[in-house]
């Protein structure tokens, strides 16, 4: 694990592969999109704050199986209510849009990985530049 | 084509029987249109006609709800109507509730197209807006001339099996179902119009009302715990063993009040959880984990708190509707205030 002030919680193998060495990655290969969000919620309950919005950009949350969320590496005493509200909203948004199966061939899966990676990658310069997380 | 047969429901006031002093008259049926029914006949034109009018006192209806509904449903059934309309009730609260109740009953039990009408702040509007079509009226009967055609138009649509438009198109109170339609102006123009109204303090209607935020400001902190009486209230479903009140494991419709006079500890022999939304093993082993009677008794003895209230309140939060939770809380709060409780420890699971 790196010594950065942030870590990425993900179920996306591409994020694991690309960021593991430079950024800390908590990788859960078996997690569904929903599992991953609940896992992030557990982290929030334990006192980690989320640093990136847990909803994918404008990729429909029920389409993509991949999700990566950046959280603080250090656990704090108190649960951060802003983080909690944000993650609860994301789970709610995923919940309301469930049950719409999408064809996922290899090419589509690979592209969803790329987009999810791209979204989290877009946050890296901000996270790096940020003194206070 | 023959005209659609319409049955109309009105209260004692609109039947010109009398005001509050006559509000206790039981339901009666009259042939043809009475009072506002004339306005409806005009609005229906050649397409429909009020064949019969049911009159009932507002007090009688609300005090004999089940009987009233059944009696009136029987009266309606006999007429074999194609359309049922009730009211409009404008701002009359009990009339609004009666109109909503009977319209819902006709819709669900008789399967007849049914429409009512009332003012948005009528308590009946909140109770029934998601169940039946309620045409939005102004707050006084002076609006009858405008309300009747709107109600008639929607009722005819339903009777003909035509698709109902969005609430803004067909003038009903928003029923929680978002429906697309084409406005006359494009969105940017509507935004500019709305902005100008907002700037100039003129009325405007948001196209998407934000969900209801029922946030409660916390009470000021208690300065001296040693003087206060504290009660325990939980949504964790802790109940005396056997769940005497049969509180549901999810989507609760009730809460329980349990006396803990002389109880020092919620043991596995005496208490358990009714909650179906979490692993009950640890709560059943020691219900104090959810409703901490043991620790509170200790605090009581040590003088940290003044007193533990001798009753605790419990329901299951699992899937329970916000509306039910609100109702429970209102009742629990009333009882706590009556018992002069100063503070509540609210535990959840």
């Amino acid at each position: 694990m790196s010594k950065k002030a942030y870590i990425v919680v993900t179920n996306n193998p591409l994020v694991k592969e690309q960021l593991d060495e430079t950024v800390g990655v908590c990788y859960f290969s078996e997690d569904s999109h929903r599992d991953l969000l609940e896992r992030v919620r557990d982290f929030v309950h334990k006192g980690y704050r989320i640093l990136t919005h847990p909803l994918a950009g404008s990729v429909k949350p029920w389409e993509t199986p991949y999700r990566s969320v950046m959280i603080t590496a250090k656990r704090e005493e108190k649960t951060d209510l802003f983080s909690l509200e944000m993650i609860e909203q994301a789970i709610f948004a995923l919940e309301k849009s469930k049950a719409r199966p999408v064809t996922l061939n290899e090419k589509v899966l690979a592209d969803f990985q790329i987009v999810d990676f791209s979204l989290i990658q877009s946050a890296l310069p901000s996270a790096e530049a940020h003194g206070q997380h | 084509m023959s005209k659609f047969r319409v049955v109309h429901y009105i209260n004692q006031f609109f039947a010109q029987i009398g005001g509050e002093e006559k509000a206790d008259i039981p339901p009666e049926k009259r042939e043809g249109a009475v009072g506002p029914g004339l306005a409806f006949n005009k609005a229906f034109g050649d397409e429909a006609e009020v064949v019969s009018t049911i009159v009932c006192g507002d007090s009688w209806f609300n005090e004999n709800l089940e009987e009233a509904k059944n009696t009136i449903l029987d009266m309606i059934r006999e007429e074999k109507p194609d359309i049922f309309i009730a009211g409009p009730a404008f701002n009359a609260g009990r009339y609004g509730v009666a109109c909503g109740s009977i319209t819902e009953a006709v819709k669900t039990e008789l399967g007849i197209p049914a429409v009512t009408g009332m003012y948005i702040e009528n308590p009946g509007a909140d109770m029934f807006r998601e169940k039946v079509y309620i045409i939005e009226t102004k707050n006084s009967a002076a609006d009858m001339r405008k309300a009747a055609p709107k109600m008639a138009k929607l009722a005819l649509k339903l009777a003909k099996g035509e698709e109902v438009g969005a609430s803004a198109e067909d003038d009903y109170i928003p029923n929680g179902i978002r429906k697309n339609f084409f406005e006359k102006k494009r969105g940017s123009q509507r935004a500019v119009d709305m902005l100008l109204a907002k700037i100039n303090g003129k009325p405007y209607t948001t196209e998407y009302p934000m969900p209801d935020f029922d946030r409660v400001d916390p009470q000021p902190a208690i300065k001296d715990l040693s003087k206060v009486t504290i009660a325990l209230v939980t949504s964790g479903g802790i109940v005396p063993k056997g769940n005497p009140d049969h509180i549901e494991s999810s989507s609760a419709t009730k809460f329980g009040e349990y006396d803990i006079t002389g109880v020092d500890d919620l043991t596995a022999d005496g208490y358990e959880t009714a909650h179906g939304g979490y692993d009950p093993v640890y709560a059943n082993e020691d219900a104090d984990r959810v409703v901490p009677v043991d620790v509170m008794r200790e605090f009581e003895r040590e003088g940290v708190i003044g007193k533990l209230h001798n009753k605790f309140y419990s329901t299951t939060g699992n899937g329970t509707a916000v509306a039910s939770s609100k109702k429970f809380a209102e009742e629990i709060a009333k009882r706590l205030i009556a018992d002069e409780v100063d503070a509540v420890l609210l535990t959840s699971t």
Partner: protein, 428 residues
């Protein structure tokens, strides 16, 4: 800044072996026009097709829609920082080829989206069914290049083509001329304007990574602070779309060029309100960026001494948070705010529409529920490919029926629930 738009009405497009505009008909030589597109080695194949309003044609997957324009007077050229050199645009005169668009189609990723039907029920929901479309269909080389590079190649090909087409309008006499002038701060306190309420437009731009990006003068918007520009700069292509997701509520380059909020605020400028400025702000992934950008929106609004503002959103989900933050912070300063959004209320319309909410957002205009189911009947001709229809956003397994009809949600239709308020579609 003062900009004259000279509209050249385009009434048709046809192919020939030369390029010209003749009696309002655009004539193009497709072989010649495609040559520079094919010079990009990432583009394996490309060709042009024509889609006319009312024809039984389906265009998919649509990437961008671009209106050809040409700068005939004043500094800079169309799409500065992208196609032209960086130079401040927004003044002088620009010719607009009204009634047509260059549409780019072709897959960038496997769940590419965007449908424009030129007729039938789907056509009612997209404004682009009303245009004469010159469609550039591209297929990417399977060269192992990244999706980012493919997106860029397709984006640049579309913009460059539009510029080449726009050039044909340079010497023509416009059918109509419209003048737009934005005030400086000092001018906004002139005698004619000083008593009117001071209003700005806050334009939110999607900026979250691949397929979600927007560029201003060539700068990737996610790396910017909230800033201001003249509304006329937008009309000269200062903002271009690099966005491929969420067909229904992304802002295509066409939307930017023809921003309806800007047009409608100009109509009231000097009459009922004082349109003092345009603020652009991003929609980033990183939460601190969201907080900072919305802080800056409120701060710039304060600098402009605003009385009121209109905020438009792009995309959905994560940007709902930016929208609500912007609205809350403006309202907190006493700036009366109207927001424009769209809804994801589920197919039955019963779910909560936005992922975020606040009581301060008490004046909302909606572009409709994007989850509304729709059946798009088969068309005689498909420009592009239906391979991706099963996977496009809002489509689901079995979206594409054996008879070629598509069962999906409004989401699949390009521009259907636009959050600049481009359309008449709404919901209650």
């Amino acid at each position: 800044m003062k900009l004259e738009l000279g509209y050249i009405d385009i009434k048709g497009i046809r192919f020939d072996d030369y390029n010209a505009i003749e009696d309002g008909v655009l004539v193009v030589d497709p072989d010649e026009l495609v040559k520079p597109v094919l010079e990009d080695e990432l583009i394996k194949s490309a060709h042009f097709e024509i889609a006319t309003p009312g024809e039984s044609i389906r265009i998919t997957p649509v990437k961008d829609v671009i209106e050809p324009r040409v700068k005939v007077e004043g500094p800079g050229e169309i799409f500065p920082g992208m196609i032209a050199k960086v130079d401040t645009v927004g003044s002088g005169r620009t010719h607009v080829m009204r009634g047509m668009a260059v549409v780019t189609a072709g897959p960038i990723v496997g769940f590419q989206e965007g449908i424009i039907d030129m007729t039938g029920p789907g056509a009612d929901y997209t404004p682009f069914s009303q245009l004469h479309n010159l469609v550039l269909v591209m297929e990417m080389e399977d060269s192992g290049a990244s999706a980012h590079e493919y997106e860029k190649a397709a984006r640049m090909a579309g913009l460059a083509t539009a510029v080449r087409v726009g050039e044909l309008a340079r010497e023509l006499e416009p059918d109509e001329i419209e003048v737009f002038e934005t005030p400086t701060i000092a001018q906004s306190y002139s005698d004619e304007l000083k008593d009117l309420p001071r209003v700005a437009y806050v334009m939110m731009l999607q900026s979250q990574g691949l397929l979600h990006d927007t560029y201003v003068y060539g700068v990737d918007v996610k790396r910017t602070l909230t800033t201001m520009l003249s509304a006329t700069e937008v009309m000269d292509g200062a903002i271009v779309s690099g966005n491929c997701v969420s067909a229904c509520d992304k802002n295509t380059t066409y939307h930017h060029l023809n921003n309806p909020v800007i047009q409608d605020l100009f109509k009231q400028h000097g009459k009922t309100l004082n349109f003092v400025g345009t603020i652009i702000t991003n929609e980033n992934v990183y939460l601190a960026d969201k907080l900072r950008s919305s802080d800056w929106t409120a701060k710039l609004a304060g600098f402009l001494s605003l009385d009121a503002a209109i905020v438009s959103q792009e995309g959905f989900g994560n940007p709902d948070t930016d929208l609500i933050l912007n609205c809350k912070k403006l309202e907190a300063q006493g700036i009366k705010t109207v927001i424009i959004t769209d809804e994801y209320a589920g197919q039955d319309g019963k779910s909560q529409s936005l992922a975020d909410a606040d009581p301060a957002a008490d004046a909302v205009v909606t572009g409709g529920n994007a989850n509304q189911p729709i059946v798009l009947p088969p068309m005689d001709c498909v420009i592009g490919t239906l391979d991706y229809v099963d996977k496009i956003a809002g489509g689901h397994d079995g979206s594409l029926r054996p008879d070629g009809s598509i069962e999906a949600e409004l989401q699949v239709i390009t521009g259907a629930t636009n959050e600049m308020g481009f359309n008449r579609l709404s919901a209650r």
